[in-house]
Chain length 400, copies 2
Amino acid sequence: MAIKFASRMKGLKGSEIRELLKLTEKPEVISFAGGLPAPELFPIEEMKKISTLVLEEDGASALQYSTTEGFEPLREHIADRMNSKSKTNITKDDILVTNGSQQGLDFAGKVFLDEGDVVLCESPSYLGALNAFKAYLPKFIEVPTDNNGMIMEELEKILSTTERIKMIYVIPDFQNPTGRTWPLERRKKFIELIEKYEIPVIEDNPYGELRFEGDNLPSLKSMDKKGLVIYLGTFSKIFCPGYRLGWTCASPAILQKFVFVKQGSDLQASTISQREVSKFMDIYDLDEHVEKIKSVYRVRRDLMLQTMKETFPEGLEYTYPEGGLFTWVELPSHLDAKEIMAKCLENDVAYVPGASFFPNGGKTNHFRLNYSNMPDDKIVEGIKRLGAVLKEFMVEKSNA
Amino acid sequence: MAIKFASRMKGLKGSEIRELLKLTEKPEVISFAGGLPAPELFPIEEMKKISTLVLEEDGASALQYSTTEGFEPLREHIADRMNSKSKTNITKDDILVTNGSQQGLDFAGKVFLDEGDVVLCESPSYLGALNAFKAYLPKFIEVPTDNNGMIMEELEKILSTTERIKMIYVIPDFQNPTGRTWPLERRKKFIELIEKYEIPVIEDNPYGELRFEGDNLPSLKSMDKKGLVIYLGTFSKIFCPGYRLGWTCASPAILQKFVFVKQGSDLQASTISQREVSKFMDIYDLDEHVEKIKSVYRVRRDLMLQTMKETFPEGLEYTYPEGGLFTWVELPSHLDAKEIMAKCLENDVAYVPGASFFPNGGKTNHFRLNYSNMPDDKIVEGIKRLGAVLKEFMVEKSNA
């Protein structure tokens, strides 16, 4: 067969996580592998009312094509919400509605990246973003991190010595996979640096509203005076992912490029989904709904960390997330999280090995745990199983 | 500002049609410019029932993330429907659910095209496809057409003399913009040629089911023995576009690439939209709904063509579409459809000038008329207005 695919297809594989999730679908497996929100919190009854209402009020428009930029009242809601939660000062005209924030990641790659261009990211970083960017054949440089996120001195070193840096991808709030958050001082220093070097920044913020404790921090977008920050938001974690609705907020010259790309990619986001989510925000209190989510996730985080403390062997380190969905475990450097995962599956518990979160590879002694998608009793039971497996490996290896 | 966009962004502009549509939004304008289905036919009452039902039956799953490939029962419905309507012999495993067929076009570009690769297409061809492909920086070669679509002798000449042809993009049924359909003999010859040269084909078929008269013809996909044809379908024209649901049907090795690309682009199509459209097909008769659409569009086509016959000046040619949404008008070669369009807008009637349907430019004496989106009386009135403007130009120019 003579079919030739594009060069980009060589490096493009399915997400390891999505493949792994298939193995964890058996009901007996307690899986901390996914990044799914808790479905028992979805506003099903409310959406029954809303979907009828939207079709009654203007069904013909709800089922028709509409503008590429998105449904205006929804964009207004999004702008208001960003101004209140992320301290920005924007309007609906700064917003493009996308299919989840994942689509914003793809568009960022499409808008900015030629083959061989350089993307900077936190080390480790969100696998789905790395995969989206890979389609445009960039090189990744991983900026070293510590418990407070990206290390600014390291970033500056890279910025001052590297050519063809086209964008910096960051998740400053409850990062995926580590759960870490950048403190205010680091945010300020970061903005100073990007203003100096004039590099566009993708600020991915799916979890920012899910803070369980401590003070809300201003988004990078809110500190951005030069229009360099492209902010990606989503309804997937504060509402529900099934509608596939997110947004991109950027300065006019950049947003216009995203709109062109949206047009060629799929014309527009679903008209009816946009109207339904907008109507929900008209009638119900999304803040109240987010509070409910936070109170449940907070308990789960506490349970998970408490059980880890009680049952994990000595010599492991893990992050303390002040919000979001994940904690990140570091094993002693001689252990391989993929190898341990095989044993975990035999014991009906699962996580995501950390290797694929490092775009340039080489680090195998981490894994990511999700606490949002399992009920309390399963969190305790699953972490106990995991602790037992880990003990085996730690003892085995120290005896070897 | 030092921001550098990717090279692809230089050639990427917003769709001329979408920009034009903004000018035609005034209620007094009778617009034949869009390609919108008739909203008065949308099954609003049915969807009110369906949306409640889907949330009642399994709301938690309907609002959660799901698989990249798509909702299995929907993929089964699609496969069954293709086997019955397009004479294929496929299963749900050959189907990926996308955001409209537009997303399949973008994915085709992403999967197959490196910069400088060649795409063959009908001359003229669908603007939205050309724009989607342009993001991947190909060259276009336009294959000459006549009233029966692509001319196979011309195609063979190009195939035998051109390097780096990566794909052929065609709309064999009621083409956009011309409304033309390829007869069976041409389809057979086409399949022979692509099997000889082993070139992947994108068969875009949004309108195939909307045949008002004559016999249904087999899809290229149904005649494809070598797995070269990638078939794109959509619910936008046979159901409603607001859900943004379409599909790609391809042989396993190709479909797998599309699935990887879908994952990086936006993870999956809307879970709830997929379940709603699938449930509609469980409970209601989509065939019956399509019959209703066809009977309305047929009347509109007849009215439009009849009024054109009565009011258009001599010296114009236009196609007779046996189905679909469009007819295509050719002006004498000295006339410019864009120039006439300005005058049309003054007279509150609109069409799409044909120039942008030719990817390599140079042809300005055509325009596209849509008959699906205007009620009967407006079709008559609008075509009369258009006829009057055309007469002015024909007379003016012949006196000049």
